[in-house]
């Protein structure tokens, strides 16, 4: 049980980084804290953790302090501040913010400065949130460990020899290490939920269409969603409320009216029917996960939910379907990186030579592997056997989920088959890396909202996580259940960082 030695109370973070999203916002609104004080505290914490965690690709101190001073000035003039007043937020490095770098952790976008701001970020800033920096990720969001970044690896704050998960690993690590109370990620097959699980924080992938993706660099367009990573469920709910809603600049953003989530978030789960999938392979979970998963089910039942066995027969096919569809879409989306309009240009010969020299030098190994796989699946002679077949199985999976949700309100699974693995453990075996996404890819394929919440620690003190999924656009019920679980299992643990925490 030596692992427990790494754990300390979350409220040990240097003030005000021990506060959650809502507490910071209300303190700044009421004038108990200035936005500048909060921002300086976040910047100081980032500086302290970065030598160990390496969560950030860029820290935007000057811009963040300018925003903070503007907020403080408006308060002095008597203006009412926004719902996220002074809350420091980190953004994954595939989300655009005008005038600031956005690289997707790729050499091909090194030095690129974004000419536009993502709608999700614009809406958070309109509520006076402060963007403090961009976080590390797997290159173009392709990976489950952050090890595919072209620039650096990020360490899991709970154990610096392990991965933080991916692809939004920098965002999850930054929240877990107390650098920011809230960060943005993107989730194509689990890229918000899996790192949130491995870092012991809350990660929410909203319904497909819930949040505009304008300004998010596209990976798999039928799967991608932006979402929050937060220290608590209410923080994620607040961010979701602010970011949600239709946007003329993204035709896939839904006209479905965003619900008021916080209004009903404390009302519990008594009477809710929660589905347990027969297809979950118990032997595919490691022992501590199996125990935590069993405890989580008992807890949900004790809270008044009715647990119901359900079946989604195509669930075991989810990873196969996902890797065909996501990579086919990626091979098309990433064709825009050709050395002509932005980013890196290599070679000075003909057009074809520039295309291929630029892409060959600019993309890392995993990105190349996936583009080639996607191109193969879409190519003449193989299209029906791979892309067509995957689409057919995906359609069946969606229909099966839709039948399941006629019977239950939510579906519960573990978020991952095990806790964080060691850095370097899976880099040489792409398939082994892909298989850790078994529980997260189905929600993307079916467009469902899903949330990862901490539910325990394994024998070495690493966090484990419960996933809840709901029918499309049923986020209110999803977050209500997550909040009920969190209230009953208050997650007050944080990692000890050697040489950073006073307790270490």
């Amino acid at each position: 049980m030596h692992g427990w030695m790494r754990i300390r109370p979350m409220n040990d973070f240097p003030a005000p980084m021990a506060m959650n999203v809502e507490a910071i916002a209300s303190a700044v609104q009421d004038g108990d804290l200035s936005a500048r004080e909060v921002t300086l505290a976040a910047l100081a914490r980032i500086a302290a953790i970065e030598p160990h965690v390496r969560a950030f690709l860029g820290v935007e101190s000057a811009a963040a302090l300018r925003d903070a001073d503007d907020i403080d000035e408006r308060r002095r003039r008597g203006q009412r501040l926004g719902r996220l007043a002074g809350v420091p937020i980190a953004r994954k490095d595939n989300l655009s913010l005008t005038g600031r770098a956005t690289t997707c952790a790729s050499r091909i976008l090194e030095g690129y400065v974004s000419p536009l701001t993502a709608t999700a970020i614009e809406r958070l800033r309109a509520e006076d949130a402060i963007f403090v920096g961009r976080t590390n990720m797997d290159e173009f969001a392709m990976g489950s460990s952050c090890e595919n970044s072209a620039f650096q690896t990020t360490a899991n704050p709970w154990d610096l020899s392990r991965v933080p998960g991916g692809s939004s690993g920098g965002s999850a690590a930054a929240v877990a290490a107390g650098a920011v109370p809230l960060a943005l990620g993107s989730d194509t097959g689990g890229s918000i939920r899996q790192p949130a699980a491995l870092c012991g924080v809350v990660g929410l992938k909203p319904s497909y269409g819930r949040i505009s993706r304008y300004g998010l660099v596209a990976f798999g367009s039928s799967l991608d969603q932006i979402g929050p990573i937060s220290r608590d469920v209410r923080g994620a709910a607040l961010a979701l409320e602010v970011m949600s809603g239709v946007d003329a600049r993204d035709s896939t953003s839904s006209t479905n009216v965003p619900p008021s989530i916080l209004e009903s978030i404390e009302s519990g789960i008594a009477g809710l029917r929660i589905g347990l999938l027969r297809e979950i392979p118990e032997d595919g979970l490691d022992e501590p996960t199996r125990r935590a998963w069993s405890d989580a089910r008992s807890r949900l039942e004790r809270l008044g939910a009715e647990l119901v066995d359900i079946s989604v027969p195509n669930l075991p096919a989810a990873i196969a379907i996902y890797y065909v569809i996501a990579n086919s879409e990626a091979s098309a989306n990433l064709s825009r990186f050709d050395g002509i309009r932005f980013g890196l240009r290599v070679g000075s010969g003909g057009l074809e030579e520039i295309y291929s020299a630029t892409r060959t030098e600019g993309f890392g190994s995993e990105v190349k592997r996936r583009i080639i796989l996607g191109t193969f699946a879409l190519s003449a002679g193989y299209y029906d056997a791979y892309y067509g077949r995957a689409q057919g199985s995906r359609r069946a999976l969606r229909a099966q989920f839709s039948r399941a949700f006629a019977d239950v309100d939510l579906i519960a699974t573990p978020t991952t088959p095990g806790g964080a693995f060691a850095l370097g453990e899976r880099t040489s075996d792409p398939l082994a890396m892909y298989l850790s996404d078994i529980f997260t890819t189905p929600a993307n394929l079916a467009g469902l909202p899903a949330i990862a919440i901490p539910c325990g620690l394994d024998d070495t003190g690493m966090p484990l996580s419960l996933q809840l999924m709901a029918a499309p656009f049923a986020e209110a019920g999803l977050l209500r259940a997550a909040r009920a679980f969190e209230r009953d299992f208050p997650w007050s643990f944080a990692p000890v960082l050697p040489g950073v925490n006073p307790a270490a």
Partner: protein, 104 residues
């Protein structure tokens, strides 16, 4: 089925990517395992996916709008001459065209 070295080369060329000989061998082995894994799809239910899926919610109308500052976009290009992106010559008269008929 698995993925041959020849298919890896063909897909890489279509992807505008050059692989070293060592990468070709490594990718062929890794992709063969992945494709073999994908082949299990045969065992699962499949529905007709040739028609568009019923949208989970109505999607917003796709309305193009002019970008506020197109000059800023040109500044991001490796090479530009307002209002154009500069690319290598592609039309007849370029000797490379004759040498490389794949540039259709």
């Amino acid at each position: 089925m698995s993925l041959s070295l020849e298919e890896v080369r063909r897909s890489a060329a279509l992807s505008r990517l050059q692989l070293t000989a060592a990468e070709e061998v490594l990718f062929a082995a890794q992709l063969a395992r992945i494709v073999e894994y994908i082949d299990q799809l045969d065992q699962f239910e499949s529905l007709d996916a040739t028609t568009a899926p019923a949208a989970a919610g109505a999607m917003a109308e796709d309305r193009p709008e002019p970008f506020a500052d197109p000059g800023q976009l040109l500044e991001l290009a490796p090479e530009s001459r307002t209002p154009f992106f500069v690319v290598p010559r592609m039309l007849a008269g370029d000797a490379r065209m004759d040498a490389d008929p794949s540039d259709e």
